[in-house]
């Protein structure tokens, strides 16, 4: 089986074999949602179930960030009344969720993806356009 890598090892030493980009899914409108279709390049690397679970969790988190409801309206109205100066002191709801997402991705990378020689890039670093999955060379299996 593939040699397990730690996240740091990957970032520092491994060479990149290729990158897979999970595009946005606009079928529900302009909300941030990624396609859950399993890309062919990952078939040999990771479980389909695991992958879908990761993407689905991300989608749920983004949906939470963009949710329209009492809480977000309250925040919006309060911000408007204070002429948006309130955001100098506190974070927006969206920013709080983005931090949650960053933590989730970090955790997924450490526990699931790095041992398989993969690395997820936080979509916010790609302008919320794609989920970039970097596939690292698996040296333990020689030429693959």
């Amino acid at each position: 089986m593939a040699e397990t890598h730690s996240l740091q090892d990957l970032r520092q030493q491994a060479t990149i074999a290729s990158k897979v980009f999970i595009q946005r899914d606009y079928s529900s409108g302009t909300i941030c949602k990624f396609q859950t279709k399993f890309p062919a390049e990952l078939e040999t690397r990771i479980d389909k179930q695991q992958f879908e679970e990761t993407i689905q969790t991300l989608n749920n988190l983004y949906a939470e960030a963009e949710k329209l409801g009492g809480k977000s309206y309250l925040e919006g109205c309060l911000a408007c009344l204070t002429a948006y100066t309130i955001f100098l002191c506190m974070e927006t709801h969206y920013e709080k969720v983005l931090k949650k997402i960053a933590k989730y991705i970090q955790e997924q990378n450490e526990k699931v993806y790095a041992p398989l020689g993969l690395l997820l890039t936080d979509p916010i670093e790609r302008g919320l356009r794609v989920v970039e999955i970097t596939i690292f060379e698996d040296r333990s299996l020689g030429s693959r």
């Binding site: 990158k19 980009f21 949710k67 309206y73 408007c80 948006y84 927006t92 969206y94 916010i124 790609r126």
Partner: protein, 497 residues
Amino acid sequence: MYLKGENEPVRECQYNQICTRTSSPMETPHQKRRKVKRKWQVFPGRNKFYCNGRIMMAKQTGVFYLTMVLILVTSGLFFAFDCPFLASNLTPAIPAIGGVLFFFVMGMLLRASFSDPGVLPRATPDEAADIERQIDAANGPSGPGYRPPPRTREVVINGQTVKLKYCFTCKIFRPPRASHCSLCDNCVERFDHHCPWVGNCVGRRNYRFFYLFIVSLSFLTLFIFAFVITHVILRSNRTGFLSALKDSPASVLEVVVCFFSVWSIVGLSGFHTYLISSNQTTNEDIKGSWSRKRGKDNYNPYSYGNILTNCCSALCGPMPPSLIDRRGFVEPDTPQPVTHSNGTSVYSSNPVHSHVCDQDQCIQSTKFVLQAAATPLLHSQPQVILTGAGAPTLPEGKLSLGGPCTSVGPGQPSLPSSIPSLTCAGELLALRDTDAHCRHHHFISPEETPSPPAHPPPPIPCAAHAAHVHPAQLYDPASQDSLHEDSVRGLVKLSSV
């Protein structure tokens, strides 16, 4: 010898940056290698950034200043000339309410003007390549001279088929409702329109500020109009109409300004109220994207169905974050896509040469240099930077250039391909550091007149400096200030090419 790279290829050109603030005449290359730029300094769009990336505006801001002047002058005159009378004769609530309205208007205007409208960052090289592969696979192979048909993707949103267009400049498939602003050269999410009065695009992130600005401005205009008229009437009851006008001449100006602006501003507010309630953008309305005239089954898939939800989502919805991370640091090993407005891309630097000439900087600095060269030299005294006679790094001649002028967006029209080789064939360029504490590196030599290529140089930013180095002369820190003025018109030596 001050430069090594006279006859070497572009990517090996090397520069020395002179620091006038430190005690040593030059920073070591180790320090230079670690110096990183912020992302706004390498931003490919045509935007201006201020306050180290915190403020973002369009390139043309003249009309914005006009808006500011009109509002400030009219309100100022109102508070100075009409309010004392009204406060004493009617109620002091009038200037109080006026004051609150005024601050709200200014706050919303500045917020709309200075924030990121929702710019989509351009695709990284890997992403762009991946999309190209997918498109080629879909379209099939084509000959080298054949331009493939416009790339579109279709997606069904809420029962409506929406076409996603490919943006050749940004190399992405635009999300629905996004559009590319040709003035700012950016794709903007939920693009409404580019507003010259506000000096920025109006998009997803600043639409609510724009709307609140025009609504509050309508109230302010009507407020001032009404109370100035009241003031004049009350005065005329006492002293007669003509003497009332003579006592308060500012009122006439205020009435004129308010009268002419109220029609357009109130009209615009009404129009945008309609757009918000039907959850459309100006762009979609003008194109008639969701109009019944296109087909009886045509409807707006983004509308929530009722007016209240539409309004709330546009005005009180969650505030999306800025996707371009203006103040983040550029990773030194990451190749930055340098995209020219004609759609081609040049990728600068690779990890091996990341510490030497940044091709992007070469290209930009060349433009400043050429522009400077096109203007006459004022300063007759040759004052140059010593690139470090005796400094240990001189033989290497390495330099990483400081960022371009704070007020200039790095996105510039394309240059002829010969320019980079001119730039890096031995001329030394210095650009103003983006920090407020400028470190000026000036190289001026009057004796060598450049022959700039026949390419119209872009408008020079106010603080861009271009210069030439002469190894024999020392930089005089005492005359740094005068150099600052004159360096804009510095000369460039284009060494043998």
